[in-house]
Symmetry: D2
Subunit: 354 residues, 4 copies
């Protein structure tokens, strides 16, 4: 048992998702924040807010910029956020006379929230592809095994026989709804955050909207009517969607684990986990993991909604709480989808012999 099973040397094979976790690596985080700063310089240069030469210099320096991570670590402990020290380093790299043009009119939250939006855009792409593939595999399973008769169970008791396709459909139909809802969730999240100290772009005057539009277009994000520093419904909505997906997969996992019980045997697992005490057992490890991840995301979801109470123009408390919760939920969803894709390949429904 280690702090973070999702990134652990030997647990991550079970509980991790390298593809999704990479989006939350320090490299990806830094690249996204620097993309914001480069895009901002370009947009402000084009709108004449900073000198064109400054914009070119900033964009150029960012390409080769290497942050001093240890200094960032120490400063983040003091500042509560990495951005002030990152800017200090970046301004030093840009040098005079353009150092003051770096991050002009922006605030820490602009950088961090936009950086997150950029990486979540990639996560949505992965989730979309995996959902499509999972539905396809369930379709294939239904084609192959759907006519097999299995026992329906209500309130943990045998009810009446139904075709396996009925069970498969109860897993598949919600996934289709989640897939369809994804675009709306993405729209609420993949938004440019650019508002300056208090969300009013006070240092940019009349050019604020134009800079924001250029920046958003450059980063392939939406620009919102007002800056959403303290409006966290988009990200809380994402948390809800992630938990709907893992919840649906948890139901599938629970169904499979029940049907694969030794005494029931309506689903056979081509492979499963071994036991240190009983080598003959085939444990429904993937199915159980789906249940665990469903309950995990259902648990964390509550904290993301607590963070909706984001006081004033920026809450250090509520914002930090999001940092502690959301990335795990994203990886949890990725792991669940990855696990479900494997699991569906290994199960087969079994004709009842009675």
């Amino acid at each position: 048992m280690s702090v973070f099973p999702f990134e652990h040397p030997f647990l991550s094979g079970l509980t991790g998702d390298r593809e999704i976790a990479a989006l939350f690596s320090v490299e990806a985080d830094m690249a996204a924040m620097l993309a914001f700063e480069a895009g901002l310089a370009a947009a402000e240069g084009a709108e004449g807010i900073i000198p064109a030469g400054a914009a070119a210099e900033i964009e150029s320096r960012i390409k080769t910029f290497q942050p001093d991570l240890e200094a960032l670590n120490q400063a983040t402990a003091r500042d509560g956020v990495v951005v002030p020290e990152l800017l200090r380093q970046l301004r030093a790299a840009v040098g005079e006379p353009h150092a003051t043009s770096v991050h002009f009119g922006a605030t820490s939250q602009d950088v961090i929230d936009t950086g997150l939006a950029l990486r979540l855009a990639s996560a949505f792409n992965i989730f979309g592809a995996r959902l499509d593939e999972l539905v396809a595999r369930l379709d294939a399973l239904a084609v192959r095994d759907g006519a097999i008769e299995v026992m329906a169970h209500t309130r943990m008791q045998a009810a009446i026989p139904v075709p396996a396709s009925r069970k498969i459909e109860s897993w598949r139909a919600p996934l289709l709804r989640h897939r369809a809802a994804m675009a709306g969730v993405r729209e609420g999240v993949c938004v440019l955050h650019f508002g300056g100290a208090a969300g009013t772009r006070d240092k940019l005057g009349a050019a604020g909207a134009a800079v924001a539009l250029r920046l958003a277009v450059g980063l392939d994000l939406t620009v919102a009517d007002t800056v959403r520093h303290a409006e966290r419904d988009g990200i809380a909505g994402l948390a809800g969607w992630l938990s709907l997906v893992t919840g649906t997969l948890g139901k599938m996992g629970q169904d499979i684990a029940l049907a694969a019980q030794s005494e029931v045997g309506e689903i056979r697992l081509a492979s499963g986990g071994g036991s240190s005490a009983m080598p003959h057992k085939v444990n429904p490890v993937g199915a159980e993991l789906l249940v665990a991840l469903a309950r995990f995301n259902a648990t964390l979801l509550s904290g993301m909604h607590q963070a909706l109470v984001h006081e004033n123009e920026r809450s250090g408390a509520a914002w930090t709480l999001e940092w502690l919760l959301l990335p795990q939920m994203v990886v949890g969803c990725g792991t669940a989808l990855r696990t479900a894709l494997s699991l569906v390949e290994t199960i087969s429904f079994v004709e009842r012999s009675d």
Copy 2:
């Protein structure tokens, strides 16, 4: 402190919402379940599944049917669900020869989940109207006070002055998004549940779809492609939406309580709560209640997502968990909207004197 402040003799003035709570009264519950049974009889009569005379008799008897609540209470303790005893009573009221045509081909969950859908439809109407009115009142507040300069606060420290309209907009914009999302949430919830024992309408043969369509039309609900007994994403999505609304209002409440602090005084409350020890105080009772309700719904939301792990074709455990949680979340949202409507009428922004 009493079990259910929402329905309590003296706490409900604070925490209750009579209009919403009425939708969960035994009268409303019974009326909705009987509407299902009457509609089912009508649809099955029209499709020739039961005799036309049976349908007419059932519909007629339901109009004057009075359940024996004490018998329902005892039987529910045994059966885990009210429907078997309700049907026993209803069949007795219908009498021979049509008693067996009552509830033909349906199951307990059909009645209860459809009954809930019918009442939630009314809840959405109330929520929609209140959201519209709340946005209108915030608009009016912005017109009246929006130009007043207030101090923006980030990380609990004074930052820079902004117009009050900026603060109002951070409350209003998410409400508009919740309002826009409501139709989709409603679509996931206001669905006919009619599947029989295992969701396959096994007793209706080829006529199942036609009966379902007639029944859905009669009840003004959507008919889903497959029966959603064990697919709980619609209702979990509703829980998420309810918590987004209360969370947004909780942020507004927190902002108002902070701005109304004695030392800050940027918002004045025309009225507030009295104190038993310090009669001079004006307590921001409504604002604090909004924070409490936000945290309440954020808490309960977790359990609604735990209930997504709804094993097999019907889970007594997960379904009962929903009963214990969802109605409270609906009332919590109603109370928050009601409270916010009053609160917005009593606040005014105060010109800074410095």
Copy 3:
């Protein structure tokens, strides 16, 4: 589905607990608050803080005092707490010249939190008796069925046979630990709250401690070194204990539901719930309810711990959140114990036939 299944006309047979719920009735609430006021007057009279005649008059009037509930309801909506209006009514009943001696030096939270402590003392008595009885019934079950061989299951797969006593012991042992821990939990909760406006008993001068001691003794509560208005660990600890009890019972319920599955049949239920579609079924209603209540209390527990962030000397937001959550958790625990007591009487382990 209705707002509060615990107090519902036909659901409460299943999910309610009349004995525990009675502790949270308006009558019990009012009686406890008035016991505080009467005890306070007596203690202050004895210490010469208020005239002896005032104390006698207050105690006498309280005996026949009948509050105007509708007025309390309206005032609570305004004040956020029932106490100011209750005192207004009580002072009117006491009349001049002693009206001002009512509630002297106390604050709303003193009345409400002490009133809760008094009622929780009764709840602990009930819980203790039920835990003792439940352990006795499990002992009897072990005596009768303990030698029967059942299959142990790990990771949802048959492992090796064990005696039924092993399974029973895994239900019983944690209950014994909860029973042993109860005294400490009670000690953290059954505490006098008497601190006045800001917890310093500012109006009582040097006599504060003596009054508090007399009052505590009179109410059979502990007097704490400092007033705990804003220290909520006692009540959060109670919430944790309630959830440990329901969680242990939920594990028992889950085990029983799994062992009673049609395909497993290692536990037989003498009685269970009926089905509206399949009259032959015996549903493990009590076992499923235990799972639901475990998940319910595990859900609400989170909110009680959120309420630990109780800002300043009294937080309207955090305090109200407790009111919305704790009573339900107490009733949920009561219902689970009541249900477990019945369930254990109806199960029997079945000799395996293989």
Copy 4:
């Protein structure tokens, strides 16, 4: 924003705790599991369950054993638990004829749960020392600033002045209670888990208890009457205690952030976080972090209590859920204590000037 701020290259300075996190490193995890296997061999050798030569060989080999982490990672993905592959590697290292004596009569959960208990024992030592030191620092703060008069606030409004010592005491008193309760929590957690496949030590016959006692003594753990594989109240109780500690510190953080508001100024922060947009600000970063960590642990606590519903003799789902939650809660508590220790050193109460 990255997956796990607690272990992140630049966020961990803020949110991490190297001392506690080290207890959950792969090295510490592996060392603890190997300590179990070495201790088991020694105990079984001494009791004649395995040959004395086998015990000596196993203990010797374990001293220099280096696991193949990549193989462990792959196998854990399949088995759901690291132990089978770890044993395969360890048996290969021990070689014939003693390989079969490795792990004799034990199961995966014995190794993992005992390994966790060993590391939690270290965590309690750290927590105890930090709590003592924090109380000492609060005492010193009370000595220095306790007589300064500050305004008490109830329901977010100024109430009456109180000495700062009153506020400090409301932070300190619960910490003393948590410190006193720690021994009981530790007792519930620092327990030997040794039960074999189904908790009955089936392969050890009459020697089971003697082996368990020797093993427990060797590891400085308690031996329980029955094996607690499926009894999770000890660990859920720990989770509750961790959240009580962070909740108490969150209340302190919230109080400090409120008192340090620009408009209030009753607490001065000697240092705080910088802002990228407003370099003049002193942000109460530590205070806000305490609030975030309180809400974080309050959130995760719910999932640890969901895991009490641990079906049968071992639940892969509930057990994995614990792995995903508990270590984070332990680190969260460590970080909160570390942060509070620093914060208390930097605050001073300010004499009111009015």
